[in-house]
């Protein structure tokens, strides 16, 4: 029961961040470089990214629906409620979580509709907007948003955190697809595309990592409360694991940025550097998934801030 709930949350986080990361990547990665994106390789890449976004949006929608019965069981305090549509309806219509979740499910459906094959640029922008709403509405649920103390400050902080996570973690997925195409050979267009996209991804990455660090620190302070609780409570220790994984990702990203990307200024050195970079991005994706697994568990535990109160 609990394992299935955590699994649904994991799939939902991964799919939602991947959908947003991909929708955004399609807009910023090749911005302002028309010559590189004129070839057939570019169109084929974009079709693959749209397919990726479609699968992610579908998984996000299905996992959002799957989370409803689990939440019903959690709220009602009985496993039987998971199979009772009456309780699902009460959850969706009469709780703060349910009201947000109705919008959230709606945004997932909207994104899926906007993933239909498209040629117009406005459709790409609309899909990115729907994905942004999907990610931001996720920030309105859970520990971060629903407390009385932090109020809207905490909700806005959490929305910013998720948006940054979508840009960076979610963006590693389309970046991996591009690097895979660029390194497997036979797709000559994709090497110049990678050379264009990598500096753009780096710039986005700086901003996203900075935003993640700031909003993550604020979040931790609100939900853990003290430096002692970070290591003294189960919630705090698991959060420390998440912070450790995040720092490992940042370290790997910095190595890539300052050792591999500069080598690509020489065309001859590019293919070898791209291969190393591709493997490194796969490792970063794995670290990102590990972070999401931690988050999927964390949200089902009481925050460390309460450890003292619960014992009273």
């Amino acid at each position: 029961m609990n394992e299935a709930w955590v699994a649904a949350r994991f799939v939902h986080f991964a799919a939602t961040l991947a959908a947003f990361g991909t929708a955004a990547f399609r807009l910023y990665a090749f911005a302002g470089s028309a010559p590189a994106t004129a070839g057939p390789g570019s169109a084929a890449l974009d079709r693959e990214l749209v397919r990726l976004m479609t699968v992610a949006a579908l998984l996000s929608l299905l996992s959002a629906l799957a989370i409803v019965p689990f939440t019903a069981a959690e709220m009602a305090g009985s496993a039987a409620a998971a199979g009772d549509p009456g309780v699902w309806w009460t959850v969706l219509s009469r709780t703060a979580f349910g009201h947000v979740w109705c919008w959230h499910i709606g945004f997932a459906a909207l994104l899926l509709a906007l993933c239909a094959p498209h040629r117009q640029r406005w459709q790409s922008a609309a899909a990115m907007l729907a994905a942004l709403l999907l990610v931001a509405s996720l920030g309105l649920t859970g520990h971060a948003a629903m407390d009385m103390g932090g109020g809207w400050n905490h909700a806005i902080n959490q929305m910013a955190h998720l948006t940054a996570a979508g840009l960076w973690l979610g963006g590693l997925l389309p970046l991996g697809v591009l690097l895979h195409r660029a390194t497997r050979g036979g797709d000559a267009d994709c090497v110049p595309l990678a050379r264009v996209a990598l500096p753009h991804f780096s710039q986005m990455g700086y901003a996203a990592v900075a935003l993640l660090a700031i909003t993550g620190t604020v979040n931790s302070a609100m939900l853990v409360g003290s430096f002692g609780a970070l290591f003294g409570t189960p919630y705090g220790r698991l959060l420390a694991v998440k912070i450790g994984l995040f720092l490992a990702m940042v370290a790997l990203a910095l190595v890539n940025r300052f050792r591999l990307v500069p080598r690509m200024r020489e065309l001859a050195a590019t293919p070898a550097a791209l291969r190393v970079l591709y493997r490194s991005v796969l490792v970063e994706q794995a670290l990102g998934l590990a972070i999401l697994a931690v988050v999927a568990v964390l949200g089902t535990w009481p925050p460390a801030i309460e450890a003292g109160m619960a014992m009273q």
Binding site: T71, E74, M75, A76, G77, T90, V91, R94, T95, A96, F97, T141, G142, H143, A144, A145, M146, D147, M148, G149, G150, H154, A213, T217, V218, S220, A221, M222, L223, V224, G225, S226, F227, L230, I243, L247, P302, P303, I305, E306, M309, A310, Q312
Partner: protein, 119 residues
């Protein structure tokens, strides 16, 4: 690795407005463990956080653990941190209030407390 000292500083700075995800009983009227001279018409339960009325409730039992019929718990729409249990006329004795609370971030807590109505 500069994040660690930054984390410590921010953690200290922000700890005053820390969030509470679960609702705990802050206080009650009649007070927890108190003895009241006259039978109260209602029990008021004040929680540390807003509750979801659809999934929060309270029940009353006498000294023998027999449930006493009360109305369903009601909430002030303006203040979802307060739950009210309207009571029938209670004879003198020992009473136990059991509460189940669902906080607005979907976590359940429960607890109980007693009060006495004087002879």
């Amino acid at each position: 690795m500069k994040l660690v000292p930054a984390f410590a500083v921010l953690t200290t700075a922000l700890s005053v407005e820390a969030a509470h995800a679960h609702a705990f009983l802050d206080h009650a009227v009649p007070a927890v463990g108190s003895t009241v001279a006259t039978a109260p018409a209602q029990v008021q339960l004040f929680f540390t956080q807003g509750l979801e009325p659809a999934f929060s409730s309270a029940t009353l039992a006498d000294a023998n653990g027999q449930p006493i019929a009360t109305g369903a718990a009601v909430f002030d729409p303006q203040n979802k941190m307060e739950m009210i249990l309207n009571l029938p006329k209670l004879p003198p004795g020992h009473y136990k209030v059991s509460w189940h609370a669902l906080s607005v971030d979907t976590h359940r807590t429960e607890g109980s407390f007693s009060f006495d109505v004087q002879q």
